[in-house]
């Protein structure tokens, strides 16, 4: 193959990489993208998107179970797991094809294969039909991350599942042990519980969803328990004994051990960055804790080499990766008026039932940083639309700086909050204070009115509490 020359080459075609490549092409850079498996990355093929498809099936099934509450009669509601999984795979396939089309439309040259750094401005490209070299002035590493394998719950593809097996079950496990209560663990817990599995979640920290505001964790904990989940916090799996078609796990909870038998285990104990086989050895690229070290502009220690998304560190979110991709490319292209990503402006969402969404500082983090606070809370119970929807569970919490009125953070749990959080994202980007939120007219009746009320509540002015 003839040697090719590009202005920019992106290694990794996930939500960071393909977005970066499209933006670069828009800016007139001759751009290449190297992807070893699926365009769209884990997010689109094995993460965010297919799990949302699964959870949608579970949600509708939940509605069936409560049809009577709405005056509806549904008889003999049941599900076909194969079809649920097939739908999820179909959704991923559709979007994967969409990304391929977008890259083509933008004239990004896509190489199927693996890329690694091979000297200044050079990438060694390994493909099925051989090895070649690509010359590229700038190189973005966007290789993402993979599930962390932590003893004794290393995924084996059979009894101990990673996200991949958990997303494509052949039959319903009767009982499930989920290790880790971050977004991934909790979403699987919610899906399998809705479809009837006995679910136990083990979390090493003292609360579930430990990155969320403590009040949200506590509320979600109770809601999950009411659904019949078993939640073991301050707990860890000490040992795992594999049987023919089940496991026996020994769980330690603050010194007390218990035994739990489960058909399957899902390991969701965090991720590690994909930093191997990238030719980083001997370059200025530094790796710490399996992640590539970058500056505020995604630049690594090696001139002309950048890293974005999961491989460049927390928070491990697709939208953070995309945003970094655009920022990095615009910096390379010399676009005016860009600024480093402010990590307190990245929202996070968990699509369990109830949903959880948040942005910015938790109340505890804000206190730690010495802010004097105004904190508002508003319950779903006080919102007309929530009652009409039959979703009275949940609340929205706001955290303001008492001195300046800056919106420091917002935390939500309840129906559709993942669609609500963007209101506060926009607010934070526009540097809102409580005043503008108070002056905003929210449509009635909507769940979004709770954004208003939670802001008013911080100043003792909520109307419907």
């Amino acid at each position: 193959m003839a040697q090719e020359k590009f202005d920019l080459t992106v290694i990794g075609g996930g939500p960071g990489g393909y977005v970066a490549a499209i933006r670069a092409a828009q800016l007139g850079l001759r751009t290449a993208l190297i992807e070893r498996e699926h365009l769209g990355g884990i997010c689109l093929n094995w993460g965010c998107i297919p799990t949302k498809a699964l959870l949608r099936s579970a949600e509708i099934f939940d509605h069936f179970k409560h049809a009577g509450d709405f005056g509806l009669e549904v008889q003999g509601a049941s599900f076909d797991l194969q079809k649920i999984v097939a739908r999820s795979r179909g959704v991923a396939a559709q979007l994967n094809a969409g990304v391929k089309h977008l890259l083509k439309k933008n004239k990004v040259q896509v190489f199927e294969g693996s890329g690694r750094l091979a000297g200044s401005g050079t990438i060694r490209l390994e493909q099925k039909d051989g090895v070649s070299e690509i010359q590229s002035t700038h190189i973005i590493l966007a290789t993402g991350a993979r599930a962390r394998a932590m003893a004794p719950v290393e995924p084996d593809g059979r009894l101990v599942w990673s996200y991949k097996e958990a997303m494509t079950p052949e039959r319903m496990p009767k009982s499930l042990l989920i290790v880790g209560s971050g977004a991934i663990g909790i979403e699987f817990a919610s899906f399998y519980r809705s479809l009837g599995a006995e679910v136990t979640v083990v979390e090493v920290r003292d609360r579930v969803l430990p990155v969320e505001d403590a009040e949200v964790s506590a509320f979600a904990h109770k809601a999950f328990e009411r659904q019949g989940m078993k939640l073991l916090t301050s707990s860890s799996v000490v040992s795992l004994q594999k049987q023919a078609d089940s496991v026996i796990a020994v769980i330690d909870t603050k010194g007390t051990t218990t035994e739990i038998r489960a058909d399957r285990v899902i390991a969701a104990v965090g991720i590690v960055g994909n930093v191997e086989n990238l030719g980083l050895e001997g370059t200025g690229v530094q790796v710490e804790n399996t992640h590539i070290v970058t500056d505020a502009w995604c630049q690594t220690g090696e001139p002309g080499v950048y890293a974005i998304g999961d491989v460049a560190g927390a928070p491990w979110l697709a939208h953070k990766a995309s945003h970094e991709g655009i920022l990095c490319v615009e910096r390379i292209a010399g676009v005016d008026g860009i600024h480093p990503l402010d990590k307190t402006r990245i929202p996070g969402c968990t699509y369990s039932r109830p949903q959880i969404a948040s942005i910015g500082l938790t109340e505890a983090q804000a206190k730690e940083r010495g802010y004097e606070l105004k904190v508002g809370r508003f319950p779903f119970m006080g919102n007309g639309k929530a009652i009409a929807l039959g979703e009275p569970e949940g609340f929205i919490k706001t955290v303001f700086d008492a001195k300046t009125g800056e919106l420091l953070g917002a935390h939500m749990v309840g129906a559709e909050v993942t669609e609500l959080i963007q209101g506060f994202s926009i607010g934070k980007t526009l540097e809102t204070t409580e005043a503008e939120l108070m002056h905003t007219v929210f449509p009635h009746p909507t769940l979004s009115e709770m954004l208003h009320e939670a802001t008013l509540a911080a100043y003792g002015r909520a109307i419907h509490t």
């Binding site: 008026g337 600024h339 008492a402 001195k403 300046t404 009125g405 800056e406 526009l430 540097e431 809102t432 204070t433 409580e434 005043a435 503008e436 108070m438 002056h439 100043y459 003792g460």
Partner: protein, 427 residues
């Protein structure tokens, strides 16, 4: 509508007072006439009453020293918030219904003018153009007493955002010896006597911009406290003009002005007479290491002095490009604080207006300012005969505490020699 709580003037000599303590907490509802604060002057502790009812909001903490006429806090209308107060505060420069009785002396709060937008409107810059700033930036500016007029924005379309306020605050901290530092000045509210109504008063009251206040304050201080003396010299420019023509004619991209040569000549003369690159302080004379030259630029809002750093080490061409850029951005109000703060010497050139000579007021804490007049044809006597020549008169104003007459004269002689044998300025 927001009502500001300002530091009252208790006696004519009082310039500032100390807020002994607030008697209300943020967010508390206050009735008209309630005692809300105690202030301490050199003579007594006085109570401050609320001029209106409202929700109390403090801008300064107990023990803070506040200049007379400056806001210490505000009384907000129900539903009104900090953001709204800024609007009111910014446009409060033209008070109409001042509520302070001259007799009672301690009444404090002044109703915001009826024309002030109540909430949510962007404040207007003093030339009437709208300032774009984020709500948080406005809130922070109010909290830290910064005037948005003096802050350039880095957000979309030049919008002022949080980081710009933070940058302005960090620039203001180390800049204690700053020259023209409007940013460093809190917006000073005039003491609020019964203000004249503009309508029917026979004149139009033009509100002070904070730049105008800084000019007023610093130059009054300079003229009152710095012992000025003046040295005047005529410089023949024929050779310089010929050289300039040659330079501009031979290099297509270069168009240097006489003023660019003057900046360079001043820098070179300062290098020869370093005593002029200094300022007075009570501890001792500060002799600066770098030769940084402030160039006075007239802007629609007033005078500002952007600084050409290390001008002695720069070519005339570089100086020319830099001055052009600084002056342009100065006129647009887009200078960053570090671009007009500092500087060891100022040049003020009114030659383009045909001014023959003038004496400038020293720009503190600097010790010297050079006032440059117009270059004009004058008869001069050369070898006993009257011949025509192009002559420019320059007057150096000097702070006698720092620079004595002979040293000033030495500087001027060096400056004149450099201009009259200008080839030296190019090497």
């Amino acid at each position: 509508m927001a009502t500001e709580i300002i530091m009252p003037s208790v006696s004519t000599s009082m310039t500032e007072g100390t807020l002994a303590r607030w008697l209300k907490k943020d967010g508390e509802t206050v009735a008209k006439g309630e005692v809300i604060a105690e202030i301490e002057t050199d003579k007594a502790i006085l109570e401050v009453e609320a001029e209106a009812e409202g929700i109390f909001k403090a801008f300064v903490a107990d023990g803070a020293t506040v200049k007379v006429g400056e806001p210490m806090g505000a009384l907000l209308a129900p539903g009104e918030t900090l953001g709204g107060t800024i609007s009111a505060a910014q446009s409060a420069a033209a008070p109409t219904a001042a509520a302070v009785g001259g007799e009672t002396a301690v009444a404090v709060a002044v109703a915001a003018p009826a024309a002030a937008p109540s909430t949510g409107h962007a404040p207007a810059a003093h030339d009437g153009t709208r300032i774009f700033a984020s709500p948080l930036a406005r809130s922070l500016a109010l909290l830290h007493g910064l005037d948005l007029v003096n802050i350039s924005g880095s957000g979309p379309q030049g919008r002022i955002v949080k980081r710009d306020i933070e940058a302005a605050m960090s620039a203001q901290r180390p800049a204690s010896g700053a020259v023209a530092a409007p940013v460093a000045e809190a917006p000073v509210k005039a003491p609020q006597p019964a203000a004249p109504q503009a309508a029917g008063a026979g004149y139009e009251l033009i509100p002070h911009s904070s730049m105008r206040r800084v000019i007023a304050q610093r130059l009054s201080e300079s003229k009152q406290q710095v012992p000025h003396f003046y040295l005047t010299v005529d410089c023949r420019l024929d050779k310089l003009l010929a050289l300039r023509q040659q330079v501009n004619g031979s290099l297509p991209d270069v168009k240097v002005s006489v003023n660019d040569f003057i900046v360079k000549a001043v820098a070179a003369a300062m290098k020869r007479v370093p005593a002029t690159n200094a300022s007075w302080s009570d501890e001792g004379v500060r002799r600066y290491r770098d030769i940084d030259i402030s160039v006075a630029v007239a802007t629609p809002n007033g005078l500002i002095t952007p600084v050409v750093r290390q001008a002695d080490a720069k070519s005339v061409g570089t100086i020319s490009a830099e001055v052009k850029d600084l002056a342009e951005r100065a006129r647009q109000g887009k200078l960053k604080p570090d671009e007009y703060q500092g500087g060891g010497f100022t040049i003020s050139n009114l030659g383009m207006y045909g001014v023959r000579d003038f004496a400038a007021i020293i720009n503190p804490p600097q010790a010297c300012i050079l006032a440059v007049g117009t270059a004009e044809k004058r008869p001069v006597i050369e070898d006993g005969a009257i011949v025509p020549a192009t002559v420019m008169t320059c007057t150096l104003s000097v702070d006698h505490r720092v620079v004595d007459g002979a040293v000033g004269a030495e500087f001027l002689a060096a400056f004149k020699a450099l201009l009259e044998t200008p080839l030296g300025l190019l090497v």
